[in-house]
Symmetry: C2
Subunit: 363 residues, 2 copies
């Protein structure tokens, strides 16, 4: 027994492959005196296949107990026909909601070795390093009423965007806290010009700023202008804070800008537990990529860097997190490339597991 517990949920598609490489990194730390109690379980389509639900109550309970959950990816075309209530995504959404992981940290970072990979011009993205804080437990993802109802002889689809003051305040605090450790600048995005929930969002972010973080530079932007500005000149941003739905689009957009999609990790954090560690789930930004699953083509780096985020945010092991990040940069500098990273400038093609081995060797 160690005092660090991890629940690994590889999920669907390339999830299990990339997670196998994370295991190697975890094992390496184990041999160096930083050990973890690791358990593994099912989430998403594979959980549905085994149990008829994308997340069992037992797995949910286990996730509540551990220090950190590491998730691979969920979903795949095989499950498209499933009813909405048992879709693979519902497993992930249940974890986020019941663990109350309100602050989703999505770094959008351009790796030097990969700047050519972006569809954007090199000078627009080289050195890019922004952090998007997406609210993750509320908004239109969870608001009631919702569903498809019958009105006369028509179907009507309904979802509700709903934000309370305290939901906005806590994620705003996460953003300001993070900004203080970075460039000290926050841009908040909403549609306050058309949505009242956006008006409240803007007001509360401003109030928290004025009362508690007056030293941080704060600006507000409409989310459509935000999408434009991210595309035009992303380096103008440091920390972006936005709601669940805008955050979904804008963080994916930002990730794609970097050209380093297969490289980007994320952390979803909630309130501190009894032991002082926050409730936490870590997952790569990329999806389950069913088209390349099982072919040793997947890039394990995003998932490995998600574990590095766990070291930093759950276990206060910042130096160890940097060690992993340095190892990743070193293999890239050596020219090692999984299939998704093979560009015109060449490099040494490696499989998923060879990439994992190379990173461990650099540790």
């Amino acid at each position: 027994m160690t005092n660090r517990s991890l629940l690994i949920l590889p999920g669907d598609g390339i999830g299990p492959e990339v997670m196998a490489e994370v295991r190697k990194v975890i094992d390496w730390f184990g041999t160096r005196g930083i050990a973890f109690d690791v358990s593994e379980d099912l989430v998403g389509g594979c959980a549905y296949d085994a149990h008829g639900t994308p997340l069992t109550d037992a797995t949910m309970a286990r996730a509540q107990e551990v220090d950190a959950v590491l998730l691979g990816a969920v979903g795949g075309p095989k499950y498209d026909v499933l009813d909405f209530s048992v879709k693979p995504e519902r497993g992930l959404l249940r974890l986020r909601k019941e663990m109350d992981l309100y602050a989703n940290l999505r770094p959008a970072q351009c790796f030097d070795a990969l700047a050519d990979f972006s569809s954007l011009k090199k000078d627009v993205v080289a050195g890019l390093d922004i952090m998007i804080i997406r609210e993750l437990t509320s908004g239109v993802y969870f608001g009631e009423p919702r569903g498809i109802i019958k009105e006369g002889n028509e179907r009507v689809g309904i979802n509700t965007q709903r934000y309370t003051e305290s939901e906005i305040a806590r994620v705003a605090r996460s953003a300001f806290e993070l900004a203080r450790k970075r460039g000290n600048k926050v841009c908040s995005m909403e549609k306050a010009n058309v949505m009242e929930s956006g008006v409240l969002w803007r007001d509360v972010v401003q109030e928290i700023h004025d009362a508690e973080y007056p030293d941080v530079e704060l600006s507000h932007m409409y989310a459509d202008a935000g999408a434009m500005q991210l595309t035009r000149w992303p380096k103008q941003f440091d920390v972006i804070v936005t709601d669940n739905l805008f955050g979904d689009l804008l963080s994916d957009l930002a990730a794609m800008l970097t050209g380093s999609l297969g490289m980007l990790p994320s952390a979803s954090l909630g309130a501190p537990m009894a032991n002082g560690r926050p409730k936490a789930l870590y997952e790569p930004v990329h999806g389950s990529a069913p088209d390349i699953a099982g072919k040793s083509l997947a890039n394990p780096i995003a998932c490995i860097l998600s574990f590095a985020m766990a070291l930093r945010y759950s276990f206060d092991l910042g130096a160890e997190a940097e060690r992993v990040e340095t190892a990743v940069n070193a293999v890239l500098a050596d020219g090692l490339r999984t299939a998704d990273l093979m560009g015109p400038e060449g490099g040494t093609p490696v499989s998923t597991s060879a990439m994992g081995d190379a990173i461990v060797a650099k540790l």
Copy 2:
């Protein structure tokens, strides 16, 4: 009296300047036997300043009678303090809603002379020509209940995403019709993996396709993946159809990709009127740009091309529309550039009105 009526609403910021150039084009057609009855009125902040409302009932009534409304832009920091219900944007939203302009056509086109302007690599955007059809009269922009309420001692912001089957069906038809005149390919975007309104959206688009447009190639994409794919390789798309809110973000993103933001027009179309012409409003995609207003720096091309769209879609004057478009390309080829178009490769700097004059000279 002609049998073609136009209501011009220049609006705020650079709106009046760019509209003045459109007037020159309209006048040119007048001298060539294609005359328009033009009236002019207020919308947005300037209407609020004059009447305490961003759109008077009289202006609204006039908009319902004319063949086409031409709008410049609304809004500005001066009006940020106004109550939500009288913000400049409410004037525009009232026009869209009461005229029932459900199909918003937003071409994202890269002008050859301006391909270097994009933050994206030239090969990614050169020759780009996609059309985004955004639903414009429903969804979270108009759904009830909405507002900021008090719950206990907390404020709660609420908006409702609501789509009926027929609202989805009619905009889907617009997209399929347009696709048949273009690349015959439609991609529909929603978040059916997390929103029931997205499930209905996907189902209805598929049903309309199967029943009425089986010859058109149809695909579906989650909106977050859509944002990524637009950034990665936008040329994969022909026509994109999506809801009001996703359309707001995605069409702005697509516009920014082209590097030709000051060039992009839009049309908002409704049902046919008694004379067979559709209810219609035309406006540039760019905003009111208060920072450059009144300085003769604004680019009038987006607004002039919006009038070209009016020629095509309201007055069935396709050849005349092309004449305007050709004139625009000709001045660009000559190297004429308003401030927003001045890049490293140089060009001849021209004012807003010199650009308008040059386009008229090319007609």
